[in-house]
């Protein structure tokens, strides 16, 4: 017999509304034991009246009442199989304080439900055929998304943009594998030399990668496509986790002030003594659907100070890993070799950068130092706030224009997916190596099989013992 499970479905921070979710065959029995309604005699306040028996409720209704004397609630009821889990489900909407929600949950648990494990509601949805594994995985991504675009990319995954892209690549790999097998099993009628004639002549209403290509050339196309998907992960991660932003600049150029201006509050130590911000501070802010994770660093300059050296080296390290560098220039002092060395570093590493020309409040207009024609310059005053909103919209444009459109294209946002794509790429490259080494075609299939399997694991078309465990392990309580 399936157990009935319950958990707090909303966050455990003080909020206006909280939801306790119950799912399983006993859901209706449990709510009928603890829900009190209004009565004519006692009115609604005391919570001693009765409601119509929940056992006879019509599905998909909202009922008003009290959970004992704990809280005034609205109760939503759903009937199997028409609920998220596919089971009888009750959701109690109560006031959102953690204490209140815990007391209601305790009441539910005392009346026959068991506390749900993390991800158990979704696991049941999966077991009851409501969602597949790929959808379950997208659900967790949506739950964990920090902004609109991340949620949209996860919704796209839920709808299948990644699945479609992966399926196409798999289809081609399977086609090639099947052909190699046909060559091995029926050498009279098939040969590798006829691949173009056989596979290339198939019209499937999509681009045929075998047309006019050798096996190796077709595999090069396959590997380019996988690489293309992997490349989207960088943006996928940006969408999902935010843009890792590093603020660089010479000591006292105004990095910490800029950070404060961006955050709108004082967090980092702001001082006039060069080199006092030695620790990297991370703050997140969301601008119109993009999350910036800002790391403020120690001022970069050639230094002999041992303590400061650690901070400076760290700054370079962080910059190299950053998605975006905001380079702060003090417009009141002329540029020197420190600036040149930092800019050189940024250029050499192909890091996306925006150059903030700070302290325009103290400079006469027209005396902005030259940075470079193709570089994005934003004059600001961290002190007065002038130019800050222009800077933010510049950053937004940098990440929204060109490379990605969040709605249509397949964007890889999930780390498990990108790891599997990398495995598939390694396998495809191994086949190309085999061809280059002149190995007979029966050797191709070993790595083709691996590539096919890795891709299949992304979309749940292949099975691995702990695949489901890994996906459900990422869930939190109540989902």
């Amino acid at each position: 017999m399936t157990e009935t499970i319950a958990a707090i479905a909303t966050g455990l921070t003080p909020a206006g509304i909280g939801i306790v979710r119950i799912s399983g065959p006993e859901s209706y029995t449990i709510i009928s034991k603890i829900l009190r309604g209004c009565s004519r005699r006692n009115g609604c306040e005391t919570g001693n009246g009765t409601v119509s028996s929940p056992l006879s409720w019509k599905p998909n209704r909202i009922h008003y009442g009290f959970i004992k004397d704990i809280d005034e609630v609205l109760v939503m009821n759903m009937r199997a199989p028409h609920s998220y889990t596919g089971e009888d489900t009750i959701e109690i909407n109560c006031h959102g304080g953690p204490y209140m929600m815990r007391r209601i949950l305790d009441e539910v648990l005392n009346n026959g439900a068991r506390l749900a494990e993390p991800g158990e509601f979704t696991k049941r949805a999966f077991l009851n055929g409501r969602i597949d594994l790929a959808q379950a995985e997208a659900v967790i991504d949506i739950i964990n998304s920090t902004n609109d675009n991340a949620a949209r990319a996860s919704v796209a995954q839920l709808k299948g943009s990644v699945s479609e892209a992966v399926k196409e690549i798999r289809h081609d790999i399977l086609g090639l594998t099947a052909f190699v097998e046909a060559v091995l099993d029926d050498p009279e009628h098939y040969s590798m030399d006829d691949m173009d004639a056989t596979l290339g002549s198939m019209d499937e209403g999509r681009e045929n990668i075998f047309k006019g290509r050798s096996a190796k050339d077709a595999l090069n196309v396959v590997s380019e496509r996988i690489e293309g998907l992997i490349a989207t992960y960088k943006y996928g991660r940006v969408i999902r986790e935010g843009i890792n932003t590093c603020i660089l600049g010479k000591p006292n150029a105004g990095k910490s002030s800029l950070l404060n201006a961006l955050l709108g509050e004082e967090r980092a130590i702001v001082t006039d003594i060069p080199g006092t911000t030695r620790d990297v501070i991370t703050e997140s802010l969301v601008i119109d659907g993009l999350t910036l994770n800002i790391m403020d660093t120690a001022g970069i300059r050639e230094t002999d100070d041992a303590v400061e050296k650690i901070g400076v080296r760290k700054a370079y390290e962080y910059a190299a890993k950053a998605d975006l560098v905001i380079y702060v220039i003090d417009s009141t002092v002329p540029m020197d070799e420190d600036d040149v060395s930092i800019m050189k570093f940024i250029n050499e590493h192909g890091i996306k950068a925006v150059y903030v020309v700070n302290k325009i409040d103290s400079t006469k207009s027209g005396s902005l130092p030259f940075v470079g024609a193709e570089q994005l310059c934003c004059p600001v005053s961290a002190l007065t706030g002038e130019g800050i909103s222009a800077l933010l919209s510049t950053i937004r444009k940098m990440f929204e224009s060109g490379d990605i459109s969040y709605n249509s294209e397949a964007v890889i946002t999930n780390e498990r997916h990108v790891e599997l794509l990398k495995e598939a790429l390694r396998s495809v490259k191994a086949v190309i190596d085999s061809i280059n080494a002149g190995m007979p075609e029966d050797f191709y299939t070993i790595d083709l099989m691996d590539a096919y399997k890795s891709l299949g694991l992304i979309i749940g078309e292949e099975t691995e013992d702990d695949l489901a465990d890994r996906i459900f392990a990422d869930f939190c309580m109540g989902k």
């Binding site: 077991l127 597949d132 097998e181 099993d185 029966d442 013992d465």
Partner: protein, 629 residues
């Protein structure tokens, strides 16, 4: 029933084809009092179709069978008249040995072996009924009964009925209820199987015409000689033990005229007219199938193979057909060398009853009838080799379970035998199942050359590999390890002589101070263990089998390792057992088709469940999560 014959045996083998012979020999050699029934004692181990043993992927089966202690490899080594290693231009995984047999000699030698095996009785009689009793809700075999009413009490029975159940031979409009070569069909047993609630279906296969060799002009064909160095099938034999003077085969082709005749008469083919209901093998198609399926091909290969040394008859491989007699004459005579051919035996299709092998466990025992096993073509397979390995496994498992010992199931990662049986009992085959290398996922590990390394130990443990053979195997294995280790540690310096040698073999010379090991050189595509002999001064003298293993093991090390990782992953799902009392209808996440298939086939583990057609990976994921809940 006083006037009825009544005898007692441990095990009955029903049928004496390639499956029956292996089953009977295995059971008798394992000490069971064995009786083998056949409709004709003169036709034990008969080869009613192609006159050869082995071939692509089938050679693997024969080598594996031999490694386990089966008879087929030894018997063909005694009776072959030509031998070739196929696919030598490809990788070692698909090298396959194929030997032409003298059909009569093959029968004679097998019969000799059977008749000289202790505990084994041969009986010419048609078994009409399998008797069972029910105990604690489970049926078990108690006896087999012949057409005459004679009853043989047995505790185990193996059905190896081949193509004989209600067999019907057809060509053109002619149809006769006989087995192959005009032998008596077995018309009674099917009814008994249906009574036992065993699902029965009807399959079809076919054979080409045999032509009088004297009427054929071989000079118009390509000659196909045997190999200079003949490798035995049996690991117990050495090449010098089996040396013979080989006879040639020939190759000719069909042409546009042949195809024209076929196309014009296609409506007279019972396959196309609908007169044949049974499903035929897609991978062993008749000539009319090939002509219709490959309209662009202007010719098809026809191999002309001797039926034996005792006869002029030749077999037209690639020309199986069920066309009417007059069409057969006309189409054969269009081929170069066959202008004046006289046919000795017509090509024909044969229809027969077989079972749905998903009713069997991986041991080949029926899931619902204890002690009853089935092997060979009755399970929906095709081919002598496929039959033989099943017969062997069924015989071994029947004997082991009789003795109360653990039965043997080979996995897909152990052997082609494992792949074959798993496919038969898991996937519902809609046509006769033929082994192919593409069916084995871990092909590079399941080579013909290493069948003994994979299976000799199992064969010895079962008790069908002699201590002497096993000792020989252990020595070989040690020699391989030793030589591989030596090559690993033998460093090759960049001497002038070495580099001259490498350049002469189109291989990059070594750089000063960058010595490599001998195994590093073997790994180079253009080199091999044999090629490097002149610059490997300390090389010991080793047998060809050891040299071959060392070369393959070192040369393809990277691929072998990757395939071994695949096997590890595969084994994880195979080891996740499904409880026998699972109720699939309770798992709502499974699609309806999956629920039905799983309920019926009852797979033993998750891996097997995933291979059932109609069970998708999504279903398997649901099952995995369900089982862990």
């Amino acid at each position: 029933m006083d006037n009825c014959v009544y005898e007692k045996y441990d095990i009955a083998i029903v049928g004496a084809g390639h499956a029956g012979c292996e089953a009977a020999l295995a059971a008798a050699r394992l000490g069971l009092k064995t009786i083998m029934f056949t409709v004709s004692v003169d036709s034990v181990a008969m080869m009613p179709c192609n006159p050869n043993i082995g071939g692509s992927s089938k050679g693997h089966l024969v080598c594996e069978l031999d490694a386990l202690g089966g008879e087929m490899g030894k018997n063909i080594d005694k009776t072959y008249i030509q031998s070739r290693m196929l696919n030598e231009s490809k990788g070692p995984a698909v090298h396959s040995l194929r030997a032409q047999a003298d059909k009569q000699a093959y029968i004679r030698e097998m019969r000799k072996t059977l008749e000289n095996t202790e505990n084994l009785t041969i009986r010419q009689a048609e078994v009409a009924e399998i008797l069972v009793e029910e105990e604690n809700g489970m049926r078990h075999v108690t006896a087999v009964k012949t057409v005459s009413g004679a009853t043989y009490d047995v505790r185990r029975a193996v059905l190896c009925t081949g193509v004989y159940l209600k067999a019907r031979c057809i060509f053109g409009e002619v149809s006769e209820y006989t087995g192959p070569n005009g032998l008596k069909a077995a018309n009674h047993l099917t009814a008994s199987l249906i009574d036992l609630k065993i699902p029965v279906k009807r399959f079809k296969t076919g054979t080409p015409a045999r032509v009088d060799g004297r009427s054929v002009d071989f000079s118009k064909m390509q000659i196909q000689e045997g190999d200079g160095f003949v490798r035995p099938f049996s690991f117990s034999n050495e090449p010098e033990d089996i040396k013979i003077d080989q006879v040639p085969c020939y190759l000719t082709y069909t042409n546009e005229e042949t195809h024209q005749i076929i196309r014009e008469n296609i409506d007279r083919s019972p396959l196309f007219s609908g007169a044949i209901k049974g499903t035929g093998p897609r991978y062993c198609p008749s000539i009319e199938d090939k002509v219709m399926r490959f309209p662009d091909k202007d010719r098809h290969q026809i191999f002309v193979e001797p039926e034996g040394l005792y006869t002029n008859e030749v077999y037209l491989s690639g020309m199986s057909s069920s066309m009417p007699e007059d069409v057969q004459y006309r189409m054969i005579r269009t081929m170069p060398g066959f202008e004046h051919a006289s046919i000795v035996r017509n090509a024909y299709a044969i229809e027969y009853d077989c079972i749905d092998a998903t009713a069997l466990k991986s041991t080949l025992e029926f899931k619902d009838i204890k002690g009853l096993y089935a092997a060979g073509q009755i399970n929906g397979s095709s081919g002598y080799e496929e039959a033989a390995v099943q017969g062997f496994m069924a015989g071994v498992n029947a004997a082991l379970s009789f003795k109360g010992e653990e039965e043997v199931v080979l996995s897909r990662s152990d052997a082609y035998i494992g792949v074959l049986i798993d496919d038969l009992v898991t996937k519902e085959s809609q046509e006769p199942y033929r082994m192919m290398t593409s069916r084995a996922e871990y092909r590079l590990l399941l080579r013909q050359d290493n069948a003994d390394l994979r299976l000799r130990e199992i064969g010895h443990r079962i008790g069908l590999v002699s201590d002497a053979d096993y000792e020989k195997f252990l020595q070989k294995k040690a020699a391989i390890d030793e030589e591989a280790a030596r090559l690993e540690s033998t460093m090759v310096g960049a001497t002038e002589k070495t580099n001259e040698f490498l350049i002469a073999h189109n291989s990059d010379p070594l750089k000063e101070g960058h010595g490599v090991s001998m195994s590093d050189l073997i790994k180079r595509p253009e080199l091999s263990y044999e090629i490097l002999a002149p610059i490997d001064k300390k090389r010991p003298e080793l047998s060809w089998r050891v040299r071959e293993q060392v070369n393959i093991r070192i040369k393809y090390e990277g691929y072998i390792k990757r395939q071994m990782i695949q096997v590890e992953q595969f084994k994880k799902l195979e080891s996740r057992r499904i409880p026998e009392d699972i109720d699939y209808n309770e798992i709502k996440g499974l699609r309806l088709e999956a629920r039905q298939k799983l309920s019926r086939i009852r797979p033993a583990n998750i891996g097997q469940a995933g291979r059932i057609s109609g069970v998708s990976p999504a279903d398997v994921n649901v099952l995995l999560v369900y089982l862990k809940c």
